[in-house]
């Protein structure tokens, strides 16, 4: 059992920074999974059937060419419209942190009658020093501001469209089946 300031809400400083960053990364991973699912649902037929190659969903176009012949061609639907690829581009976290130095006592375990070696190895309580911190209210009040001794700003930035998706779209633009039909 641990003593210290855990009950007052103080925690390790790294945990305070880590929590929002981890949440954003996890949200981005979840988002990527949803986008992948969306692309597969929207762009492919029977993609969830095992052992079968997913088939691209195609849109057909036809027009009359200069020679008066109807030309029919089809393109993958994925290459036609801009995919709604939502990404977390920029995440700002502003927080005010109060850092404190604490000593944490590792409490000695109660002696056990069953433990034969208990007398031979007496448990010594260990004392550790460390920096702990807690979030302080973010107000304009001077008193509240004085309570915090560190203002933290964390920035996270992510890019636009993954290169793999761009290559996939470029490749799909090349896929077209052209047929000529005489009128």
């Amino acid at each position: 059992m641990r003593k210290g300031l855990y009950s007052t809400g103080a925690t390790k400083l790294k945990n305070i920074f880590l929590a929002p960053l981890e949440a954003v990364i996890q949200a981005d991973i979840d988002l990527s999974e949803r986008i992948t699912q969306f692309i597969m649902n929207y762009g492919f037929d029977n993609w969830h059937e095992k052992g079968k190659m997913p088939k691209l969903k195609m849109v057909s176009f036809s027009y009359v060419n200069d020679q008066g012949k109807i030309e029919v061609f089809s393109l993958p639907v994925l290459s036609l419209i801009q995919l709604p690829l939502l990404r977390i581009k920029d995440a700002h976290f502003d927080m005010k942190v109060k850092m404190i130095t604490v000593d944490i006592d590792e409490q000695a375990e109660p002696p056990s009658l069953l433990d034969e070696d208990a007398d031979l190895k007496p448990k010594i309580s260990q004392r550790q020093s460390g920096i702990k911190a807690f979030l302080t209210p973010s107000t304009s009040s001077n008193m509240e501001t004085m309570k915090s001794n560190m203002k933290v700003r964390l920035n996270m930035v992510d890019g636009d469209m993954p290169g793999g998706i761009i290559q996939l779209l470029a490749m799909m633009g090349e896929i077209n089946n052209i047929k000529e039909i005489e009128l």
Binding site: F38, S60, S62, Y63, L80, I81, L85, G163, I166, L169
Partner: protein, 74 residues
């Protein structure tokens, strides 16, 4: 991860006569039966499968909802 800036350069249909990149919206695919090239006015008939139209309509509505709720302040 390798990221690149241009987002919609690859989307759209290249006009078979003038090579102009014709841009589409989801609603174009849902509502229209033909589309004209803005550059050479070539008229192209479109055949979008019905099940795909339903899917596109759902996505279009979802996209609209995302746009409406993309910014909020507490």
């Amino acid at each position: 991860m390798k990221n690149s800036k241009p987002k919609d350069e690859h989307n759209g249909l290249e006009c078979p006569t003038c090579r102009f990149k014709i841009k589409f919206t989801m609603m174009d695919l849902v509502m229209k039966k033909n589309i004209s090239c803005p550059s050479c006015q070539l008229s192209l008939n479109m055949d979008v499968p019905v099940d795909m139209k339903q899917h596109l309509q759902e996505i279009s509505l979802a996209e609209q909802m995302v746009r409406e709720s993309s910014s909020f302040s507490r």
